[in-house]
């Protein structure tokens, strides 16, 4: 039923995570195929961000299997995971405020890489990213800290792309930015998909998710409650009401 149409790149099985003594995630299993945009949805506190951080190795207490291109990454450190081609943009952006736009991009720089089948992954340079995000092109010497929220949101995505990732974990790209910027983010995701990247998106805004996603996993209280294609979610108002409700 709800399986990726392509071979899964990211495969998560029975993922559990804790903060201190509190368990946040319970036996999550899901996958993201090559070239797919998959949305993790659910309200705040459902565990979307924790899921992303767990995949990225940023949560110390975690258990379960996380496979990336058939390799078990559940014991690796964040930098090792990033070097396998998994990009991460955090929900709170985490721009280096003292560094300029250029320097922020440079921190994310990694060598070009290939997909498992030998096809080259898209290679990103500052020039290409400036074309993708024209706002950033206007301010290469601007300090990250003096940019607006929307600009920072673009920079954090651009910074991740500098690592030439195969799959990007995009945590709430539409949160806290103006509708105009949200639209630009949607456009960007569509462009990235065209480039062949896979994206795991965490999102609460169903209007946004509708524009970009292929499939959806719905979380509540750290558990997987529903999964299906975006079209199925669109048609199912009960599910929307139960877990999102506009």
């Amino acid at each position: 039923m709800n399986q990726p149409v392509t071979a899964p790149m990211l495969n998560v099985e029975r993922l559990n995570a804790w903060y201190g003594a509190a368990q946040i995630l319970y036996d999550l299993s899901f996958s993201v195929g090559r070239g797919e945009v998959v949305a993790l949805m659910g309200r705040n506190g459902a565990g979307k961000s924790t899921t992303m951080k767990s995949i990225m190795g940023l949560i110390a207490q975690r258990g379960g299997l996380v496979q990336f291109n058939d390799r078990d990454i559940s014991r690796l450190q964040p930098f090792e995971i990033a070097r396998l081609g998994l990009g991460f943009t955090p929900e709170d952006r985490r721009i280096f405020v003292d560094l300029t736009v250029e320097e922020n991009l440079d921190i994310g720089r990694q060598p070009p890489r290939h997909f498992p089948d030998g096809a080259p992954a898209p290679v990103w340079t500052p020039q290409r990213l400036y074309a993708l995000f024209p706002n950033l092109a206007e301010m290469p010497k601007r300090a990250g800290g003096s940019m607006s929220g929307g600009e920072q949101q673009m920079l954090t995505v651009a910074r991740t792309l500098m690592g030439n990732p195969l799959l990007v974990l995009l945590d709430e790209p539409s949160e806290g930015v103006a509708p105009l910027i949200v639209e630009q983010m949607a456009q960007t995701i569509i462009e990235l998909k065209k480039e062949g990247l896979s994206i795991l998106l965490s999102e609460q805004n169903v209007h946004f998710a509708r524009l970009v996603s292929d499939r959806v996993y719905m979380l509540e209280k750290g558990q997987l409650r529903w999964q299906g294609t975006m079209a199925e979610l669109d048609a199912n108002e009960d599910i929307q009401r139960a877990y999102l409700t506009v």
Partner: protein, 632 residues
């Protein structure tokens, strides 16, 4: 003083500034990236001097001297990297202050290692081959080695500046300074980066130390002096600003040089000996700078640094078990004099422990619930002790009056210093409190006619019946227990809540009408007053008080006690102080290398109890309870 003499002193100051800068730059780099206040940085500097001395004397000649300096810098860099790799890496997730405790333990270990390897004597290195002569400057002879040193500082500054602004390594350092976790998530091996930064910082310290061999002897007291100086320089310059560190180093060295140059100046009405100010010059500079520019000369307000420490539990009244335990302990203490016949030493130790408990509890009050990390709590201990002792010496006051005056003197001092201190936060507050403590210390040390200078005040013995250890112990108990209970009661009062509110979220606190600075100021003064009682008790217990007993070491002891017990629990400081006082007492009696042993014990405890002794026990019981709940 002539203009020439003045300028000559200024040149001298510049060569001193280079050494200060080297050590401060390394400290600043390491703090920036790892957020560790590395107290052992001064020890690395000291090691630099000793190792370079060994090269210069064993191998000798140009190779031994100049080659030795380079080799020393590299060796110390490697030692720094090893320290990071073996020890600090395990405690990055521990609270900031806990890391400080670990590095302090290293200070102890390194100091005794140096004592073992090089002995207690001062060791003066040979003069620098090629730079043995002196040149005529402004009618005086300036050693050409000093001239060389003048250029070392700016040269290193330039190199560092280029590295930090122009290279990828520098960009990574700056990025990691803000958010090291994110740097890791972008594919940078941050563990390697940390080790590299530690190596670089340590290398600078080693270089700074090594360059001193032709000027000053290697000495076992260098470590704490150097770290004190480096702290001051970093804070005055502004945390994280390398250029600021150089500017501050020059400023401080020049002020000191000026004091020496001025010597005794006759103002007609009175003569002032400015050379006496050299001891406190840097601290006065720091206090002035921090009051005018709270983030140092070139520093910026520290952004919110991602905290990975565990948040604190709400405070709850003691449960039946803790109350019962408290009563049992109190009863046991009351009964202690009964055993005094078997071991008279027991009571002396008991008095020491009680004083330590009161000292630590008052420090914990502002450090834990108040969030004000004072590095200079010894000041209020000293004000209490000297307040009481001087009253006895000059007014022949009875003990009761003197003991009542002790907290008042300390309260007044804390009220004065606290007004400035609460305007700052974090490391800056820590350093300013340290500066105030240093000023108190220097005042006591220098003001010989009143305080007896380095000899201190003697003959402060309690009258009968308190001259018997048994009775004095009970007196100490009668002051310590209410003192601790009072602090505890305050924590549960609206005032204590307001203090915690100001710590948890100053923004929210101000937005609901709390004058956070005022609340913290009063809390600071109250803690100072309570600490003064401990000081007064100490003076009468020992019969004397000297500047040595209120030096930086005592402030650090207080920190160790509080952290050892655990910052986040109310019983922590009591346990921490008791453990520390007993350890210190017993270890000191067992070996010459007691510092190293104490250091190792602290390291051991830090690694085993990452949240302090009591904190770890609390966490453990909570986890067991949760697991039981999960099982049912």
């Amino acid at each position: 003083m002539t203009l020439n003499a003045f300028l000559f002193q200024a040149l001298n100051g510049l060569s001193t500034a280079s050494g200060l800068f080297l050590i401060a730059a390394g400290l600043s780099l390491i703090f920036g990236v790892s957020r560790i206040v590395n107290i052992a940085h001064g020890s690395l500097y000291m090691l630099g001097t000793y190792i370079a001395y060994t090269f210069a004397t064993r191998i000798g000649g140009v190779t031994g001297f100049w080659g030795g300096i380079v080799a020393t810098a590299i060796i110390v860099g490697i030692i720094g990297a090893a320290i990071e790799f073996v020890l600090l890496r395990r405690i990055y997730r521990a609270p900031e202050l806990f890391q400080l405790l670990a590095t302090f333990a290293l200070v102890l270990v390194i100091n005794d290692s140096a004592l073992y390897l090089w002995g207690p004597e001062d060791l003066l290195g040979p003069r620098a081959p090629g730079l043995r002569d002196a040149i005529e400057v402004l009618g005086r002879r300036l050693p050409s080695y000093d001239l060389f040193l003048i250029f070392v500082g700016p040269a290193v500054l330039l190199v560092l500046h280029v590295v930090i602004t122009k290279t990828r390594f520098g960009r990574l350092i700056r990025a990691a300074t803000q958010d090291r976790e994110m740097v890791g998530a972008l594919g940078v091996n941050q563990a390697m980066l940390f080790t590299a930064v530690f190596a670089l910082g340590s290398l600078l310290a080693g270089l700074g130390g090594a360059l001193q061999i032709a000027r000053e002897p290697a000495n076992l007291a260098t470590d704490l002096i150097a770290i004190g100086d480096a702290f001051v320089v970093v804070v005055v310059g502004g945390m994280g600003s390398i250029s600021g560190a150089y500017l501050a180093a020059v400023l401080i060295a020049e002020v000191k040089a000026l004091c020496i140059g001025l010597g005794v100046v006759d103002f007609g009405l009175m003569k002032i000996n400015f050379t006496k100010f050299t001891l406190v010059a840097e601290f006065i500079v720091m206090a002035v700078v921090l009051i005018v520019r709270p983030y140092g000369l070139l520093g910026r307000p520290q952004g919110a640094v991602r905290s990975i420490a565990e948040a604190e539990e709400p405070i709850r009244p003691a449960n039946v078990f803790v109350k019962a335990l408290g009563i049992v302990v109190f009863a046991a203490l009351l009964a202690l004099p009964l055993f005094a016949n078997y071991s008279p030493y027991l009571l002396v130790l008991g008095i020491d422990v009680l004083i330590a408990v009161l000292f630590a509890a008052s420090l914990h009050f502002i450090m834990g619930p108040g969030g004000m990390h004072s590095f200079g709590h010894a000041a209020y201990f000293g004000l209490g002790a000297y307040g009481a002792a001087l009253l006895v010496k000059w007014m022949a006051a009875p003990m009761g009056l003197a003991l009542a005056f002790a907290p008042l003197a300390a309260f007044a001092g804390a009220l004065l210093f606290g007004w400035f201190a609460v305007r700052l936060s974090g490391v800056y507050l820590a350093m300013l409190t340290l500066a105030f403590a240093q000023i108190i210390w220097a005042a006591v040390y220098q003001w010989e006619p009143i305080t007896g200078g380095s000899n201190g005040v003697v003959g402060v013995w309690p009258p009968a019946p308190f001259n018997k250890a048994t009775v004095y112990f009970l007196l100490a108990l009668a002051l310590t227990v209410p003192g601790v209970l009072l602090l505890r009661r305050l924590l549960f009062s609206p005032f204590g809540y307001a203090m915690r509110a100001g710590r948890d979220s100053p923004l929210r606190a101000e937005a609901i009408g709390i004058d956070v600075k005022r609340v913290h100021w009063l809390a600071f003064a109250i803690a100072g007053g309570i600490c003064g009682i401990a000081g007064g008790l100490f003076a009468f217990a020992k019969g004397s008080i000297s500047p040595e007993t209120i030096h930086v070491g005592r402030s650090i002891d207080g920190l160790v006690m509080v952290l050892l017990g655990g910052l986040q629990t109310l019983t922590g400081p009591i346990v921490g102080a008791s453990v520390f006082a007993v350890l210190q007492d017993t270890i000191m009696r067992s070996t010459v290398y007691w510092r190293a042993l104490l250091g190792l014990v602290i390291l051991f405890l830090v690694l085993i109890f990452p949240s302090g002794i009591v904190g770890t026990l609390v966490n453990l019981t909570r986890r067991i309870r949760l697991r039981r709940k999960a099982a049912t």
